[in-house]
Symmetry: C2
Subunit: 550 residues, 2 copies
């Protein structure tokens, strides 16, 4: 039987039209450090997005073409988020924390001809331009020293002047197929070359609806959303599009991501929902401990990107009344994969084991666990396998293989099209995911698996430990054994034997590391995750000062 | 640029699989009157849905074919909601309040071969069977006198026996196109023949996501949802599918829709969210006034189907602490069109004017107002035109025209495919819809429009008035004038002149009715709306006792 429903595509243009008209008085506020915050209405964002589309069209941007942004979280980046996909082009967000050579590689791979850049980031972009033959136009937004652009080949435009020069007519937004690409984001490439995920209009739209579900981040016109997660990092976890869709106000931190200005802006602007990686919350916790601020407006603090140490969650809640909600996802999952709200009706003690999982599976996403032999494992809370994911906002390929077509490496996608996450974990019978390790970080010791993350979390709960990272090192007898690298707190008194017995009270004896090494800080990737590659290299090259404790 | 996302269809089978696995312990509770409520887990609903699909397949049901239900709100109806679309067939919900001849017309039009019926509704179905040549199988669920089925032509099955006879294997749910029909619902046909809307899997799925949005009904695992709105009425406003998707518990009233058992089940089962038509809430208010119950569990009471009298909203809130939220929709809009949450940060007095609108436009739905000359009107809060609607869960045609193809009557769909609602209204600049009348009920007096609903609402706020319906009657001088038909409360003391001056303090003088008539009750359609056709006929045939008051 034929359905009789209208065939209306799910596109970013619909989000833009809705937010700027129905929620026209809602505001996006951009923090400016010590000055007055900058405020702009969603209606004005709509008008300016149309002008940006006119301008990009005037520069020759056509449907299907990428437009790169090298920008902080601010109102102008939001305009690019809305205008570029709505005109049929593809928003290509550049990760400003990547090494310059990787950034250049990505821009060449995507074929970026136009870059919108914040003035403060010109010192990063300008030296790359001589190596980027494709780039024809650089559009500079906001303050910054533009002298480095004096002699470059591409045409340089000022964002505000460019917009002011456009016609005031509404832009003739094209009617797009919802399966066209809307946004392009590259993985940080911790292993091998960076890989691009091309989100579709459909995936962005459905993901925004899921973000706005009451069981997820629950954005409504009553919320003020502070995306601390950068807009170059998986579309700021979908929050800008979701907020514009729901009419939730946005508080944009711009480049002020340090703990002190974050605490200041929370106290001053009173956001209700925020999201970021655990290292951000670690820094904010220390800041609030040192100089308390009123952060009571926040009712939802989402932590994702890597596992949040349970001790951090407890400290935040006990000392500042802030409840951290863990969520799990990755570039390939848009990123919303699961959110760790506990089942209803539990006491705080009963709820705690659920809160420290990666979270509950939402309706549109499917999980399965592939065991070492490729068979799928039961959801019994103990069988650990590689997590595979399916759903309408989950990647099924990467952008631009050798022939320009999407490509599907066998270690990343199953034969039947599911995403292979490279994460090892378990599923509880009631749908909660617990990740125990990365497939590449798990320690394979005498035919058993030891989770590096579990050891790290226990170690970081010790008062003398600031950070800890555990890696697998070769061992003649066991194949691999764990090495614990530890950042000790200033004035720490505990030695390795004490830390080892502390751990011994929490995990099985055969899992206890024999090898211990102090490090000044755990090396991090561009998105703030532990970079164990570096530690493994340091160990291999004898750079770590290893003590053996039995 | 090609997107690299997985191509996963949005289907009811995904809702079934997710709810029964991830929220397997969540319960659907069916009220049984004086006995113990019947409780069934979502996991069991999943197992039984597979058995139902096996059974229907065994009876010859194939993809694209309708399966009719003539059932109350209960767990078995939920199983049909999930199993029938998931196997690729089409759930055809029959409105048990329709006149028998209309019911038979609809079943013949849809070509129903299989009917699932509650035993208590056999007195309605059995007499129709001799006139329904297509019906081959009748599946009876629950208690009821089955003797009337002794001599009928179709095969009769017992629902539980049929399920018990099926294999325990999971059903091989087919991979469906999301644009296939999932459910079929006919309008009540107050004008002309009933018209069928064939919802697609896509529209049902997206609508369920919208129901679960925080800005909408906000279903989560922490909620218990009581759909008082019947499951034969626009899929119970999408609540069963949405609750199963979100893992919200369901409280099903079965046939106990009278005020006293409703109040009892609310007190006993403590639902948090409920939805129904204003006449239900009117009845519940009187019941609670007479015999108070603890209804404090309810935080969201949605009223839709027709405008909720503001006096009812106020009385409920003042006397029982229950806040009614108006929502607007119709069979052709799935039905979620708008929900009247006020903007944030307003005092109760400031919020009130928003709460009595039909509500705020959600992101996936578009509205426009067509003026008398066909031009589209501004959203200025005063320009009134016919509401036209577009969106992915809005009908673009009706099911089964003369050639079996979808058909698009010009009075129901615009040339560019928008739904013409037949409702006259205004839009505020901030996206709130106010309906002033049905296009066919508006009173065209001397070149001006008088809203019948506005007069009715004011009249019903008078303490001596129980109900009031205003219709247009022919007038030599003005073309049309309003006639007020009024149900007076027992022991009322006010006469027509007093009611007319009461109205005169609230509307312009030229809008005041001269003609007044008492009625014992306002005639209602099968879904509880005022049936003004009947009043117009009664007036034309001189059956009303009209008094003229100047």
């Amino acid at each position: 039987m034929l359905s009789t429903m209208q065939d209306v595509p799910l596109t970013v243009a619909r989000i833009l039209a809705h937010g700027s008209r129905v929620h026209g008085r809602t505001q996006v506020t951009t923090w400016t450090g010590t000055g007055e915050p900058h405020r702009r209405s969603f209606e004005d964002v709509g008008v300016r997005s149309a002008r940006l589309a006119h301008a990009l069209h005037g520069l020759g941007v056509r449907e299907g073409e990428p437009v790169a942004t090298l920008m902080w979280n601010n109102a102008e980046h939001l305009e690019a988020y809305l205008a570029v996909p709505s005109m049929g082009a593809v928003l290509h967000t550049l990760n400003l924390r990547l090494p310059p050579e990787q950034l250049a590689w990505i821009m060449r791979h995507a074929g970026d001809r136009v870059v919108v850049v914040n003035g403060s980031l010109l010192p990063l972009l300008a030296p790359l331009l001589p190596h980027l033959d494709d780039v024809e136009h650089v559009i500079v937004s906001g303050p910054g020293d533009r002298s480095a652009l004096a002699d470059v080949r591409p045409q340089v435009h000022d964002y505000e002047e460019l917009l002011a020069a456009q016609p005031a007519d509404p832009y003739p937004w094209p009617e797009l197929d919802e399966r066209q690409a809307a946004a392009l984001c590259y993985t940080s490439g911790t292993t091998g070359e960076p890989k691009g995920v091309a989100y579709s209009h459909r995936s962005v739209y459905l993901h925004a609806m899921e973000v706005n579900a009451a069981a997820s981040f629950g954005l409504t016109p009553a919320q003020i959303c502070l995306p601390v997660v950068p807009m170059f990092h998986v579309n700021a976890w979908g929050l800008p599009h979701a907020a514009f869709m729901a009419g939730a106000a946005l508080l944009m931190p711009d480049r002020f991501l340090q703990p002190a200005p974050l605490a200041d802006m929370i106290e001053a602007e009173r956001p209700t929902v925020t999201a970021g990686v655990p290292t951000i919350w670690q820094g904010l916790l220390a800041e609030l401990d040192a100089r308390p601020r009123d952060v009571s407006s926040l009712h939802t603090v989402v932590s994702g990107g890597s596992a949040c140490p349970p001790s951090l969650m407890k400290d935040f809640e006990e000392r500042h009344g802030l409840r951290i909600v863990q969520a799990w996802g990755m570039t390939e999952t848009s990123p919303l994969g699961s959110v760790a709200y506990p089942p209803p009706g539990l006491s705080p003690e009963e709820a705690w084991p659920y809160r420290i999982t990666q979270g509950l599976l939402p309706a549109s996403v499917e999980f399965r666990l592939a065991g070492p032999d490729g068979r799928f494992l039961p959801w019994d809370g103990t069988s650990a396998g590689e997590l595979e994911v399916r759903g309408p906002w989950i990647a099924g390929a990467y952008y631009g293989g050798k022939d320009g077509e999407p490509f599907r490496p066998a270690d990343k996608f199953s034969e039947d099209g599911w995403l292979r996450t490279g994460d090892i974990g378990t599923m509880s019978p009631d749908g909660y995911l617990t990740l125990t390790d990365r497939a590449k970080d798990v320690i394979k010791s005498g035919g058993e698996w030891i989770s590096s993350c579990e050891l790290e979390n226990h170690l970081m709960a010790h008062p003398d430990v600031t950070e800890a990272a555990v890696i697998a090192v070769p061992d003649e007898k066991w194949g691999e054994r764990p090495l614990a690298t530890v950042v000790l707190r200033d004035g720490a008194t505990a030695g390795w034997p004490e830390l080892r017995s502390f751990l011994g009270e929490r995990v099985a004896r055969w899992q206890l590391p024999e090898r211990w090494a102090p490090v000044p800080a755990v090396p991090k990737t561009s998105v703030g995750k532990f970079d164990k590659k570096v530690l493994r290299r340091q160990y291999a090259e004898g750079e770590l000062k290893v003590t053996v404790v039995d």
